[in-house]
C-alpha cells in the first residue's frame, strides 16, 4: 500500500454501517428517555395531586372539628379540582369508661391522574383519567 492510499483511508469518514448502527442506538435512547420522561412527569403530577387532596381533606377535618357544619365547609373552602367527592357518615365508637362517643367518617375520593382522556391510538397519556383513589378518616368533634 502506497503512502498516499494509506493517508486517504485514514482520512475517510464513518462507513454507512457504522452510521446506521449509531443512529439506531441513538433512536432507542431517545425513545427510552421519552417514555421515562412521561412516566416521571405523570408520577410527579400524581404526587402533587395526592398532596393537594390530602391538604384539602385536612382542612375539612379541621373545620369540622371546630364545629363548622358540612354545608358551611363546602362554602368556606375553595373547590379543589382533584377531589372527586366528599362523603360524611355519622358514626359512633364505644369508649370503655366513657360510653358511646360521636364520630364522623369522612370519605374522600380524588383523581390521582391529570389525564383528561383515555390513552389510545391517537392519545398518549400518563395514567388513567377515570381512576379514583379513596381515603377515609374518622373525626371526633369535641363535645360539649
Amino acid at each position: 500500500m502506497t503512502k498516499t492510499n494509506l493517508k486517504n483511508r485514514i482520512q475517510a469518514g464513518y462507513t454507512l454501517i457504522e452510521t446506521l448502527v449509531a443512529s439506531a442506538v441513538m433512536m432507542g435512547a431517545i425513545a427510552a428517555a421519552s417514555s421515562l420522561s412521561l412516566s416521571m412527569v405523570t408520577q410527579e403530577e400524581m404526587s402533587e395531586r395526592t398532596v393537594r387532596a390530602l391538604n384539602h381533606l385536612e382542612n375539612i377535618a379541621t373545620l369540622f372539628q371546630i364545629g363548622v357544619s358540612t354545608s358551611e365547609i363546602e362554602n368556606l373552602l375553595p373547590k379543589e379540582p382533584v377531589v372527586y367527592d366528599i362523603l360524611y357518615t355519622a358514626d359512633t365508637k364505644t369508649v370503655a369508661g366513657l360510653g358511646t362517643v360521636d364520630f364522623t367518617d369522612i370519605r374522600m375520593r380524588y383523581t390521582p391522574s391529570a389525564a383528561t382522556s383515555s390513552s389510545g391510538a391517537n392519545s398518549w397519556t400518563g395514567g388513567s383519567h377515570s381512576a379514583l383513589r379513596t381515603f377515609n378518616i374518622h373525626v371526633m368533634r369535641p363535645n360539649p
Binding site: K7, A33, M40, M46, L54, V95, L98, P142
Partner: protein, 566 residues
C-alpha cells in the same frame, strides 16, 4: 519519538469516544438523580396519608380528653387514684388519651388559685392540675390540663342569669333600676324586660345566639354591645336528669353534686349549724330558761292587772329580778302592751336573757317595736334565732355566727351593723354562708336587711325549686300587687339613704324583688346569681365587686371549666 500521522489519527478517534462516554455518563447520572427525586417525592406523598391519619388521631385524642374530663371528672366529686386510659376504636385506633391520677376534684380543690392573665377566663381561679397524655396512634405526648373553678360573682360576673328548668319558654325579666359595675352574664338569651327600664352593666355576655332583648347601657347610660369573647364551656355541677352544661342551677341542696352544693359541702366541712324555722332555737349567751319562782303568781297577777300603771309595774318587776321566763312571757304578751320605753330597760336589766325569751322576742307578732326588739336582741349577743314560727334572725356582727343551713323559713331577718365602728370590726370577721332550702309549698317571702351597713362578707343561697308550678310565678314585673306570688322580697331598712351591703346572693327557683324604698340607694358588694326574674323597687340597686376573696372563695359555689397548657 518521531511524529507519525497514523498515530495522530488514532488519538483523535479515542478522544471523541471518551467525550461521548463522559457525556453519556453525566446524562445517565442526571436521569438517575431525577428518578430518585421523583421517587422521593412519591414516597413523601404516600407518607402524607400516614401523617394525616396521625394528625387526625391526635386531634381526636384532644377532643376525647376534653369529653372525658368534662363528662367523667369535672361535674363530679371524684378522684383518680391511678392513670386511666381511654381509647376510641380498635385497629385502627382513632383516639387515645391517658388521664393522670389526681387527688382532688375541681369543685373541692381550694389550694391553688392561679392567676390567668389572658382575660379569656377569670383572672383568679382554683386550678387542679392534670397531666394528660395525648396519643397520635404511634406515640403519646404530655399535655398539662387544668380543671379550674371559681365563683362567678367573685370573678367579676356580678349578675349571672341562668336558665330556668321549670318552664320551656323563658320569661325572665330584669326590671327596675339595677346597675352592674362589672359584667352581666346571661346563659340564655330568651328573656325580656320592662320597656320602662334599662339594663345597665359595664359589660354583657350573651352566650346564646338569641338576639338580645334588652336595652343595654353602661352605668353612665352609654350604649354597650354584648361582648363576643371566646367562652369556656362551664358547668355549675351535676343536675338531676339534665344537661350539666346548660347552666341550670342546683347548688343549694343537691345530693347528686355534693361538691358544689351548700348543704352537702358545709356538712362535709363541718362546724355549721342546721336550724329549722319551725323549731325555736338560738345560740345566745344566756341560759335555756329561768325557772319559776315563788312569787311568779303575784307578778303575773300584777302584769294582768289593767289598772296598775306601767311605771309601778316595771318597778315591781325590777325589784323581783331575775324574772322567770314564765313571767317575762306573760309580760311580752300583755294587752295593752308595755311601752317600749319601760320594756327596754327592764329587759336589759335581766341580761343575760334566757333562750326561750329571746326566741319569743324574735317573733314579729310580739307587740314590741322593731327598734326596741333589735336593741334588746343585740344586747343578748345572739348570732341566730329561730322563733319556731318561720322567722329566723341572724346577727352579722356576732363573732359566733356559724355557717347556717336553714329550712322551713318564711322570713329571714339579717342584722348588719349599726355604726361604723361595728362595721369596721365586722369586716375582719370570718365570712359566712347562709343557705335556705324550704320544702315544697313553703315560701321564704321576706328577707329583711337591717342596719346602717354590713361589712361582713356573707353569702346567702336560697332554693325554692319545689314551689314553682308555672310561668306566671316568675313574672314579677308590673304592679307588685298582681305580680306572681313566688318571690322573695329583699327589704332594706337603714337610717342612711345610701347604704353598702356585702352580700353575695344565689337564688335558685325563686324570683327576687329588691325593695330599696326605705333607703333609696343600695350598693351590694357581691353579686346576684339567679335563674328567675329580678326586680328593683323604690330606688337604685348597684352591684359592685367584692375584692376581699380570702376564705369566702372556697366557701361559695363555683363554676368549673377546663383549660389546656402544653
Amino acid at each position: 519519538m518521531k511524529s507519525n500521522p497514523h498515530n495522530q489519527q488514532s488519538t483523535a478517534h479515542g478522544s471523541v469516544l471518551v467525550v461521548a462516554l463522559v457525556i453519556s455518563a453525566i446524562g445517565t447520572l442526571g436521569v438517575l438523580a431525577t428518578i430518585s427525586v421523583i421517587g422521593a417525592r412519591s414516597n413523601l406523598a404516600e407518607a402524607q396519608f400516614d401523617g394525616l391519619t396521625r394528625r387526625i388521631v391526635f386531634n381526636n385524642s384532644k377532643a376525647l380528653a376534653r369529653e372525658v374530663i368534662y363528662k367523667n371528672y369535672l361535674t363530679d366529686d371524684v378522684i383518680l387514684t391511678a392513670d386511666q386510659t381511654y381509647t376510641a376504636g380498635t385497629s385502627p385506633i382513632w383516639g387515645s388519651v391517658t388521664i393522670g391520677a389526681f387527688d382532688k376534684s375541681a369543685f373541692t380543690f381550694s389550694s391553688t388559685a392561679r392567676s390567668h392573665p389572658t382575660g379569656a377566663s377569670p383572672i383568679r381561679a382554683f386550678s387542679r392540675d392534670l397531666t394528660v397524655q395525648i396519643g397520635d396512634g404511634a406515640n403519646q405526648y404530655p399535655f398539662q390540663y387544668q380543671m379550674r373553678s371559681y365563683n362567678p360573682a367573685l370573678a367579676g360576673d356580678l349578675l349571672s342569669i341562668h336558665p330556668t328548668p321549670e318552664v320551656a319558654s323563658e320569661q325572665m325579666r330584669i326590671s327596675g333600676d339595677l346597675k352592674v359595675k362589672g359584667r352581666a352574664v346571661f346563659w340564655k338569651g330568651d328573656y325580656y324586660q320592662d320597656a320602662s327600664s334599662t339594663m345597665r352593666s359595664l359589660e354583657v355576655i350573651l352566650p346564646a345566639t338569641n338576639a338580645p332583648k334588652l336595652v343595654l347601657e353602661n352605668p353612665d347610660e352609654d350604649a354597650v354591645k354584648p361582648s363576643n369573647y371566646i367562652n369556656f364551656v362551664q358547668t355549675v355541677g351535676r343536675v338531676p336528669g339534665g344537661n350539666h352544661y346548660k347552666g341550670e342551677l342546683d347548688i343549694v341542696n343537691n345530693s347528686t353534686s355534693g361538691a358544689n352544693s351548700y348543704f352537702q359541702r358545709l356538712a362535709a366541712i363541718g362546724g355549721h349549724v342546721s336550724a329549722d324555722g319551725q323549731v325555736g332555737a338560738t345560740d345566745a349567751l344566756g341560759p335555756a330558761t329561768v325557772s319559776a319562782t315563788g312569787n311568779d303568781s303575784t307578778l303575773i297577777a300584777a302584769i294582768l292587772n289593767g289598772s296598775i300603771t306601767e311605771s309601778t309595774l316595771v318597778g315591781l318587776l325590777a325589784s323581783n329580778s331575775p324574772l322567770s321566763s314564765n313571767v317575762i312571757q306573760v309580760l311580752l304578751n300583755r294587752v295593752p302592751a308595755v311601752s317600749d320605753s319601760y320594756l327596754l330597760p327592764l329587759l336589759n336589766s335581766q341580761a343575760p336573757l334566757p333562750d326561750d325569751i329571746i326566741i319569743a322576742l324574735a317573733n314579729p307578732s310580739v307587740s314590741v317595736g322593731d327598734a326596741t326588739r333589735r336593741t334588746i336582741l343585740n344586747n343578748t349577743g345572739y348570732s341566730f334565732i329561730s322563733d319556731g314560727q318561720g322567722t329566723v334572725s341572724l346577727s352579722l356582727q356576732s363573732l359566733y355566727l356559724p355557717n347556717l343551713l336553714l329550712s322551713n323559713v318564711t322570713q329571714l331577718i339579717i342584722e348588719g351593723q349599726t355604726n361604723t365602728t361595728a362595721a369596721d370590726d365586722a369586716s375582719l370577721l370570718q365570712p359566712r354562708v347562709i343557705a335556705v332550702k324550704n320544702p315544697d309549698n313553703l315560701l321564704l317571702t321576706t328577707v329583711r336587711l337591717e342596719g346602717l351597713t354590713n361589712q361582713r362578707r356573707v353569702a346567702l343561697a336560697i332554693s325554692q325549686r319545689g314551689v314553682l308550678d308555672g310561668a306566671d310565678l316568675i313574672d314579677i314585673s308590673g304592679d307588685p300587687a298582681t305580680a306572681g306570688t313566688n318571690k322573695t322580697r329583699f327589704i332594706f331598712n337603714s337610717p342612711s339613704p345610701y347604704i353598702q351591703w356585702k352580700l353575695l346572693t344565689e337564688l335558685e327557683g325563686v324570683s327576687s324583688e329588691w325593695d330599696v324604698t326605705a333607703v333609696s340607694t343600695v350598693t351590694l358588694f357581691g353579686g346576684i346569681r339567679a335563674d328567675h326574674s329580678i326586680r328593683v323597687e323604690g330606688g337604685t340597686l348597684t352591684l359592685d365587686r367584692e375584692t376581699d376573696t380570702d376564705f369566702i372563695e372556697s366557701l361559695v359555689s363555683r363554676n368549673a371549666w377546663i383549660e389546656t397548657y402544653r
